[in-house]
Homo-oligomer: 584 residues x 2
């Protein structure tokens, strides 16, 4: 071992010990009077090295030549500092160095290795191995390790077995976004990389594994958004002989465990919100419940006053922003511009200021009297000082716009604190989703998702109202996980395929393999998957999942550090029996 | 929850409890006198269900119609059995069933779901999800879970961080056996799947992660042998500021921990055997040390007696098989045929029987007197009753043959017990390996492996004798892990490339990326990787790694269950900008 202690370890109690430390030069400060301090950094902390010209002039000179990020081994004595630093754990001591060995030099790094660096995104990604030296980046990955580790601890205690499912699997007709892998041994044939281990985990239930989980890489070859990566990690789970309630309880327990052991936070029992409720009051199936401002429908209160915008609207919805009546004209204009952005697409924004003196002023005073406005305010539970914001139009579209507005106002009012965590289950999702263009229904989750028993009778007459035994866990407006109870009864499964417009032949072609397996005694089963990347970024208070991935890819799916993907050798292509054929 | 208890849980103390069980029909026995017993199985065990015609004739009739592998939910009362079964944990009780619900029927499975099944390899692989229902197969995967889990426990306690490295990486010129993945977003470009995370783990050391591990899938597109799979799992580790000794100690600790918690076995301190010693006394760098029979060189004792075979041989080596003097002519012929098989390639086998009466009889009595033979026996430490077996020829080749013979005889003498575990480190591997045809040296491990300090001076003059700081862990003759101290000094690295015949340009092209990273302060580092599949199969006493993988591929790299790889849609190929071009 090159060291006796780490750079985060020494305390006043260690004073006068002879120690050997290793690490990187964080910075060095040449003070007057022949004293030089060097901060030595490793994963565990920073320790101050002290060099005194009076004690050893040669060593002092050497120390003055050390560059940033040099790798050192120093031998010395732990001494109490004269001026202590309370900001770091080792701040009471310094090392009076007796021996200095440069283990490796370093070129000047292309950006500073500090919590707040001067490096832009691109350069930091290119030199990701240096970016990873920075405390905040490393801490995200330490957090990721801890979350994965504690997930395994919890699930192991609940008798889950971690089973590795294959990475090289078969491509399916619906797998348009599969990554494929040519097989050298089977010319002209391809493996696919899994978008999820769904098939295999259901097979493991058929195998009687009872409780399965896996922290597993999954792959999707599609255009990437800020929070998507071509490879991502799932906490994938499945259980047998359980109902929805059991799955919710077990995984509520997981999340409580993680918050407790990783962040020291006690999470209260997770509320369960129906999909219908979430859409009606938040305009989203992943409501951010850290703050109120639920939607209030006021269409009936606005009718018949000759305000065409509201009269013609299918839906008029309000949110009440607490203590925002003091918003300036400029602030209100910003909000109006926000909702009018093409991504949101509202035509305009109506507001009512509930002044602290009790008066009500709105942008539609021409049409509505203070008595009208008071009725709105009453329904919104508004108090003096609040600001009511109103959007109108086609119901679903307007609710989505109102959802965006609510989140924006929540941000502006500081109601979306990253250190506050609000978790809930969203349940009772619709089983099917109608493609209005094609005029037919698709499975919202997947075709093996079980409908609610009491809704099965509507599968033929009114498929759109059938609810599924499907559930999502939502934290702070982020869907961190979701799953469903699966169909294990073959009659019901056939019925589902019929509703989805599959001929028996087509069903067999696409799903025959799993259906055949189900012939040999499939148990009732249910499961879910959490997105580990999202979970970690939420715990870390990050905006993007990229910052909790050691070596992420950019929005074009490129690893700019190693420059992948890249062209490959013509010989290698030949061996794989493929040719590149760029379409012109 | 469909059940109140599992099928492995109920004991005599639970008698008279009302319980609900779920599981699969293992078998049913219709006894005389209106009694039917059904064994209900789940992952946790088997519980006997009892149906009595006298108590409920309808239920009794229903029970008689249950087929193998039907999925049941039963409600009933726990009763003490009249005739107990000591072979199973629930053998003291049975369930008097009051309610029977068939959760799912089952077709008759294509083979019996028993510890000893009637299904051949092919059918079991095709229906792997049924094969996984069998106890021995499931137990292997439970063991795998436990080993992975305890590996993480141990390494976490040692401050290792599990960091996920990318699966979609870049192909390298030496990556002839890389699986490649066309990128849709980057037409004409390919990712590669990692053969190991070597590059990334060394980068993480440059990043100051200090202690990294990962249980990770790796990929190799090559012809498969019985114990190879195109995707396999490594316990991959790397540490900074350590020397070889530190790595050996940490991972000796890991293996001791695994044996202790998983198998309840205390493993003594691991002996360290040099590569030179292993080759000289076992003819292998992965000696099976569960038994003795080390090689004894007797060339000097055999010389000058006109026995041309020995006189002309570079090497004459013996092994002494304890208590095998009683081997019959037939048994000796079998051994002779064994060594003469083309895979082994010896010309013949000489033996000396040290009879229990003290006389010595050999197959070369024409050339050697009993006094000669007594000298051989003495050097072999042979005792009356032992059998000495001798091979001769070119040194290296003969040692390999003698190695095979030793293992075969060890098998025949029952000295290779699967429940005995003998672990050791093999160290001081040669740094370089000479390709005799090409007349040049190659890195035995990889070009970043560090030579021993005291051998560096021979890098130019006699590269073949230079030893590496490289090490393998060997258990029962199986290499379960290995690694090395890496070069972190750029001068030494350049020297290595020179010895390996790389021009600076070629070195830059192939390894430039890592070399550049090393410019920014690489710490001294070292690591190793264990093959999880091999480790588990060893713990399970299996001959093949396939049996400890949930969904393995066959020798052609095919998953016969899901029939992958397979052809893919022409449209999909077009989108990926590739074409299949089978060479004729």
């Amino acid at each position: 071992m090159y060291r006796s202690h780490t750079c985060g370890e020494l305390r006043l109690a260690d004073a006068e010990k002879e120690v050997v430390l290793t690490g990187w030069v964080q910075k060095s400060r040449k003070l007057g009077g022949g004293i030089t301090f060097v901060d030595l950094r490793d994963r565990y902390g920073v320790t101050q090295l002290a060099f005194y010209r009076d004690l050893d002039a040669d060593l002092y000179e050497e120390a003055n030549k050390l560059g940033r990020e040099f790798v050192l081994q120093v031998t010395g004595t732990v001494k109490e500092r004269s001026s202590k630093n309370n900001n770091i754990a080792t701040g009471d001591i310094e090392i009076h160095v007796a021996k200095l060995l440069i283990l490796n030099k370093s070129d000047v790094p292309p950006f500073t290795i500090e919590d707040e660096t001067d490096g832009g995104d691109d350069i930091r990604m290119k030199y990701r191995y240096l970016d990873l030296r920075r405390n905040p980046v490393r801490k995200n990955l330490e957090l990721r390790h801890r979350i994965a580790f504690e997930t395994r601890n919890y699930l192991d205690k609940q008798h889950f077995l971690e089973v590795e499912t294959p990475v090289l699997i078969g491509s399916t007709p619906e797998g348009a976004r599969d990554f494929v892998v040519p097989s050298r041994m089977n010319p002209g044939e391809f493996y696919a990389l899994p978008q999820s281990p769904q098939l295999f985990k259901q097979l493991l239930m058929v195998s009687g594994f009872d409780r399965y989980f896996q922290i597993v890489k999954c792959f999707r070859d599609e255009d990437l958004r800020a929070d998507r990566q071509p490879e991502f990690t799932q906490i994938d789970c499945e259980m047998s002989f359980v109902e929805q309630e059991d799955v919710l309880n077990i995984f509520e327990g997981l999340v409580k465990h993680l918050f407790k052991v990783v962040k020291g936070i006690d999470i209260p029992e997770l509320p369960r919100m129906t999909y219908a409720h979430a859409m009606k009051y938040y305009g989203s199936d992943k409501p951010d419940t850290r703050f109120g401002m639920e939607f209030v429908e006021i269409k009936d209160l606005t009718a018949g006053k000759n305000f065409g915008v509201f009269d013609d609207a299918e839906y008029v919805g309000a949110i009440c922003a607490p203590n925002a009546a003091s918003y300036t004209r400029k602030q209100l204009d910003e909000l109006t511009n926000f909702v009018k952005r093409p991504q949101i697409g509202a035509k305009g924004l109506i507001y009512v200021r509930y002044e602290t003196d009790g008066t009500l002023r709105s942008s539609v005073d021409k049409f509505y009297t203070p008595v009208d406005l008071a009725k709105w305010a009453e329904r919104c539970n508004a108090k003096p000082g609040d600001l009511i914001l109103i959007l109108s139009g086609e119901t679903e579209k307007t609710q989505k716009q109102l959802c965006e507005l609510r989140l924006e106002v929540g941000d502006r009012l500081g109601l979306r604190d990253k250190d506050t965590f609000n978790c809930l289950w969203v349940i009772d999702f619709p089983l099917l989703e109608k493609d209005e263009e094609l005029g037919r229904f698709f499975a919202k989750h997947h075709p093996f998702t079980s409908p609610k028993k009491e809704d099965i009778e509507y599968l033929d007459s009114d498929p759109g109202v059938v609810r599924a035994n499907a559930y999502d866990m939502v934290i702070n407006g982020v869907e961190v996980g979701g799953g469903s109870v699966r169909i294990h009864n073959s009659d019901l499964q056939e019925k589902m395929f019929e509703v989805l417009g599959f001929t028996p032949e087509k069903a067999q072609a696409q799903f025959g393999f799993l259906m055949n397996a189900f012939k040999y005694g499939a148990p009732p089963h249910a499961g879910l998957a959490f997105g580990l990347d999202r979970l970690v970024s939420l715990f870390a208070g990050l905006d993007s999942i990229r910052d909790c991935i050691a070596f992420p890819k950019n929005n074009s799916g490129r690893d700019v550090m190693i420059d992948a993907p890249s062209q490959i050798d013509i010989e290698q292509l030949k061996e794989l029996c493929i040719e590149v054929k760029k379409s012109e």
